[in-house]
Amino acid sequence: MTASAAARVRNGMAMDALLSVENLVTVLDTDRGTARAVDGVSFRIGRGETLGLVGESGCGKTMTALSIMRLLPERIGRVESGSIVFEGRDLLRLPEKEMRAVRGNKISIVFQEPLTSLNPVFTCGEQVREAIALHKKLSRAASKERAIEMLRLVRIPEPEKRYHAYPHQMSGGMRQRVMIAMALSCEPPLVIADEPTSALDVSVQGQIIELLRELRERLRMAVLLITHDLAVVAEMADRVVVMYAGAVFEEAPVGDLFARPSHPYTEGLIGSLARPDRRGGRLAAIPGNVPDPMRLPPGCRFSDRCARRFERCTLSEPPLFAVSAEHRARCWLRETGEGGDRGAAGNV
């Protein structure tokens, strides 16, 4: 592919981008020093698009999400550089008051553990009603009615009755439905779902994925789907960004990513999934662990775990290389051949 074709694709993506994160650097001040939890991350999400953000625990996915929401842990986390443009405005430059009008209303977030995100002393229905009342000028009765409607939308049985249930009186799956009802109550154009199914049983995972898929169509929302589980991404993402140790490692349409993974890390993630046709054999586990962001290996940050490492890898960090028009990978193996157009690969 030529550099201009790649540029067209990028421009095209930029034009209808709902959210555009550019070179985001988020640091955490810990007692051991400053860690770059997010280290120059760029991606875009189009209107109505579902972008999967995958990587093992500790890769910086949640910090990326919290940077977008401007909900980083107080006194510890801060965005050091970059921009987060949403509907044409850089969220990082908004006064806190305007940001409050964005949260919940324009962008909302669903976390992994609904029990810790819901307030135990209020009924589930009240909490959904509160979320609505925060942004919509409705009478108490009208907001309650809307809350019940939301509970029905997320398929909570007997929503009028369940409105009065407390979080601990519900199963994990039902609580996650309440969280989704809260997040969607203002029909935001973008929902961030941070490991929405990871704490749930497989059977309930299936229900929640099904629900998210249906609501996404119905409300025409874009979704940033964060998970460590590629199988969840396979179920509902349009495009995927693979993240490792704070950096984007691979970006591709979902079909492409599974058919032609172009980064050894992505190959490792796919290989580690148990599949019926590989029964009994060894799973292709990725050895070792995600590095501490303060102790990255030299060169490629995956080099200490990579089975395909060669000399170059520990000498310098690879940029994102274009594999095809919409497919990029940060690995020196992609340097040669057609995809080796480093100019087109662009940034970093």
């Binding site: 497989v202 059977s203 299936g206 580690s272 019926p276 060894r282 586990a285």
Partner: protein
């Protein structure tokens, strides 16, 4: 080495008619609480050197069964044979000696390790209790175990919080292995871990099984991983086994509608096969209030009249399979 278990055809563990009932919280001063039938008549055989997988949604009784099998709790009813020997009859010193032979690995590597003990003390504890080594030899054994599970011997002097989730689970494996067990019950050993780390632990357990001729009961709510590691899969629902089949058959042709639902609801890891998945509707019923007839009937897409009234029995289906469902009448 255990003398009483030489015959290789004797199962490593055999449970028959195991029940564990609890009394729920009292409704009032004068009305006692409901009976919670957490495990309600389970027969299970673990052939020597095999892996039996146990799956089912949360709350269906898997952990309770595990606790009863290792005699952390006494069953309400039933019998358990460990290497052909009546495990429940053992008392005192004989029980203490036999406990070594069956060990458990827990789901949560965070809460199952004592945060105030070094890794070395945690692993060495069993070695000392069962007098498998003494003095400096304990430390040597701990070091060897740590290396066997893929950690460095230096881990011995560290504390659990200094390790990642996957590493803590390796410590849990080393602790179980330390007393040279024959049977290991792994209760959701990988459910709390990242997919990539799950594969590491599953591979480790597989290696250890061949090296030490271990017998596993591998518990999970994820059929994908269970199917991968198991020879036989038992599916549990509301305290009962509803299907028991060889692993290669259960995926190809699940018999019980619940098994089929579990398979269908697992994410497919293949973007071309997405959509149209029949997730199992609803939730697991409370064990204090199990539906009459077939316990699965309120969620079953194939429910018939008989299902609502009469509980089906576990019946044989061919040489190697068993199923508890009216779609498969006995003698069919």
């Amino acid at each position: 080495m255990p003398r009483e278990t030489c015959d290789p055809s004797t199962p490593a563990l055999e449970a028959s008619g195991v029940k564990k009932y609890y009394r729920g919280a009292a409704a009032s001063l004068f009305r006692s609480g409901p009976v919670i039938k957490a495990v309600d008549g389970v027969d299970l055989v673990l052939p020597r050197g095999a892996t039996v997988g146990l799956v089912g949604e949360s709350g269906c009784g898997k952990s309770t069964l595990a606790r009863v099998l290792i005699r952390l709790e006494e069953p309400t009813e039933g019998s358990i044979a460990l290497g052909g020997e009546d495990f429940l009859a053992l008392r005192g010193e004989a029980l203490r000696r036999s406990r070594r032979r069956i060990q458990m690995i827990f789901q949560d590597p965070y809460s199952s390790l004592n945060p105030r003990l070094t890794v070395g003390s945690t692993i060495g504890e069993g070695i000392r209790i069962h007098r498998l080594a003494r003095g400096a030899a304990v430390g040597e054994r701990v070091a060897a175990l740590l290396e066997r599970v893929g950690l460095s011997a230096a881990a011995s002097s560290k504390y659990p919080h200094e390790f990642s989730g996957g590493q803590r689970q390796r410590i849990g494996v080393a602790r179980a292995l330390a007393v040279e067990p024959e049977v290991i019950i792994a209760d959701e050993p990988v459910s709390a871990l990242d997919v990539s780390i799950r594969a590491q632990i599953v591979n480790l357990l597989g290696d250890l099984q061949s090296d030490f001729a271990l017998t596993y009961l591998f518990i999970a709510h994820d059929l994908g991983i269970v199917e991968h590691v198991s020879d036989t899969v038992a599916v549990m629902y509301c305290g009962k086994i509803v299907e028991l089949s060889p692993a290669e058959e259960i995926f190809r042709e699940p018999l019980h509608p619940y098994t089929a639902g579990l398979i269908a609801s697992a994410p497919a890891a293949d973007p071309s096969g997405r959509g149209g998945r029949a997730a199992i509707p609803g939730d697991v019923p409370s064990p204090a209030n199990v539906p009459p007839g077939c316990a699965f009937h309120p969620r079953c897409p194939r429910v018939m009249d008989v299902c609502r009234a009469v509980p089906p029995e576990l019946v044989r289906r061919g040489a190697h399979r068993q199923v508890r469902c009216w779609l498969y009448p006995a003698g069919d």
